[in-house]
Amino acid sequence: MRAEAALNARKRIRPRRLGAWTILLVLFVTSLFFLMPAYVMVVTGLKEARNVSLSTMWNLPTTLTGGGFVEAWQRLRPNMGNSLSMVIPATIISAFLGSINGYLFSKWKFRGSDVIFALLLFGFFIPYQSVLIPLIRVLQALGLYGKIWGLVLVHVIYGLPVVTLIFRNYFANIPTEIIEAARVDGAGVLQTFRRIILPLSPPAFVVVCIFQFTNIWNDFLFGVTIVPNPKAQPVTVALNNLSGSFSVDWNVVMAGAVVAALPTILIYLLLGRYFIRGLLAGSIKG
């Protein structure tokens, strides 16, 4: 057995070695392309306004005083706060609703529940442009237009399909026998959820929270259409305003881009494993 395995291993490795250095070289050159915008953003952001001349764009900064980051942070700080106070409640409510919905759709199926689930899931894919006009009228009627809580409501509702999907896929891997055993012991729908499903769910909660945090943080369309007041807008909208205004230097814009990207990048760096799982889970089959 072992000899055979060793033989197989050798067979597998040999053709790889031939091109190993070529593959590494190609990967290295490709990663230069992928890292280039990050380099440009950070390097330009670190430069002082007077040093951001067009001809030295690719050079490293000559001073280390924070460059455009100081002004970018001053300008974007209120909007970073807005984004946070939108993302955190929306993510928590989403995850809670998604867990119970996903549990019911996966373990308490009723007649037509799969069709209803597909109809629900369709809501994840629609272009939100096709709901904006009625949405804004309804938010105005509810007194939520222009408010962060309006954005929270919108993100929770339009997030329902995908969070339900992620939890449903996750719960599909929990053996139905466990649920049935609990049922025989007299546990009801909610008791089973609390005693059996929730203790098994932390990984799914992490995935959903990362997925929703990133999605909601990165949203632009709802932010720009639902909140017209620049002081109350999320950071993506503020960044776009910053880059569109002619009085702002490029070093500030680039530093602003880094600032606006920082929370999701941090999450990616800290929880990358779950992040990948989340983005695959958001793709129907996972």
Binding site: D114, Q129, S130, I133, L190, W217, F220, G272
Partner: protein, 352 residues
């Protein structure tokens, strides 16, 4: 579906001693059976209103006379005439052309690139986690951040064009007597590979087409930025797919005398077909809806060279306050996306 059906209370009534409790029990079971629906109701109601009712309302706005700030919900006559008007607009025609070109090029680069990266990574001797993270971190960014960064990179006065100088590419071209490489990128209004002449020969009357059909050169930088952001997603999908292919499959193919390239060409890539379909549909619907990236990067572009329906809807609705026209364009967007998504959802539903 059969396995998880709610348990029927089959034991009831079998034992005479339990008879007294059955009424209460039955009520309890009825309650338990209704409970899932009761708990789901608020979510389902919210989605019904915010997705389906709102879509119907948007459609109604699109056939109404509400074309100014003042609300006017009378139906525009003749019915759907606004749609005819919109499809006759050169700008909207350009939008449809741009969406088509963008989607095709983007899918080609992002899905093809993702597959290539996944295969390269699978065969890399070391540094796999590092490269994977480098290729995927951009997925965590907002389209606005990506757009802002790439707009600066594609600035014709600096950015890539400057890099061509620094790297000596222009000097090299001068040696061969060629002009220096200095594309206008996002500012280039050219429509490359125009097929208007061809169309005129095939379809009489095609010379009256108000727009040039071809590849708007200014959209290529946007394709590059979108590929930069999302090819990592395709790579992650393919890596997950490659992980599920057992080594025996490759071994068997090699024993049959297949070379490394042939194993991929004839065995692995065909086995990854479901992943390819999923990735194309997910990225395809993203590209049909694309808005933020172009909004931040180039806006409508020279001669509407980078305009797309997403931007058209936004500008007609919120800048020009032509609500019915904006709504009509958003309905077209919805139909385009549904044409891709609905068969996909229906198929995955049938498979379950």
């Amino acid at each position: 579906m059969v396995r998880t059906r709610v348990a029927e209370p089959t034991l009831e009534g079998e034992n005479p001693a339990r008879l007294g409790r059955t009424a209460a029990r039955r009520r309890h079971f009825a309650f338990e059976r209704a409970l899932p629906v009761v708990i789901l109701a608020p979510s389902l109601l919210a989605v019904t209103i915010f997705v389906y009712v709102f879509i119907c309302l948007t459609f109604y706005v699109s056939i109404s006379n509400w074309g100014t700030l003042k609300i006017n919900l009378s139906v525009k006559q003749p019915l759907l005439s606004l749609y005819a008007e919109m499809f006759a607009m050169p700008r909207f025609q350009a939008d449809l052309r741009n969406t088509l070109v963008f989607t095709v090029l983007f899918l080609l680069f992002a899905v093809g690139g993702g597959l290539l990266l996944a295969i390269l990574l699978e065969n890399a001797g070391f540094g796999r986690p590092f490269f994977r993270n480098v290729f995927l971190f951009s997925y965590a960014l907002s389209f606005i951040v990506t757009g802002v960064a790439w707009r600066w990179i594609f600035n014709p006065e600096t950015g890539l064009n400057l890099l061509f100088n620094v790297l000596g590419i222009n000097k090299l071209l001068a040696v061969f007597g060629a002009a220096p490489l200095k594309p206008g990128w996002l500012t280039d209004p050219t429509i490359a590979l125009s097929i208007n002449d061809l169309l005129t020969r095939v379809i009489p009357g095609a010379q009256n087409l108000p727009i040039k059909l071809g590849i708007p050169v200014a959209i290529i930088p946007v394709v590059i930025a979108a590929t930069w952001q999302l090819s990592g997603f395709a790579m992650a999908m393919y890596l997950a797919g490659l992980g599920t292919i057992p080594n025996e499959v490759r071994e068997a193919a090699r024993i049959d005398g297949a070379g490394e390239w042939q194993v991929y060409r004839h065995v692995i890539i065909p086995m990854l077909h479901p992943i390819t379909v999923s990735t194309m549909i997910i990225l395809g619907h993203v590209s049909l809806k694309i808005f933020d990236l172009i909004f931040a990067m180039s806006g409508v572009g020279p001669g509407f060279a980078t305009d797309v329906p997403g931007i058209f809807v936004f500008e007609q609705t919120f800048k020009a306050t032509r609500y019915n026209l904006g709504a009509a364009a958003s309905v077209v967007m919805l139909i385009l996306v549904s044409a891709v998504i609905v068969p996909y959802l229906a198929r995955s539903l049938r498979e379950e």
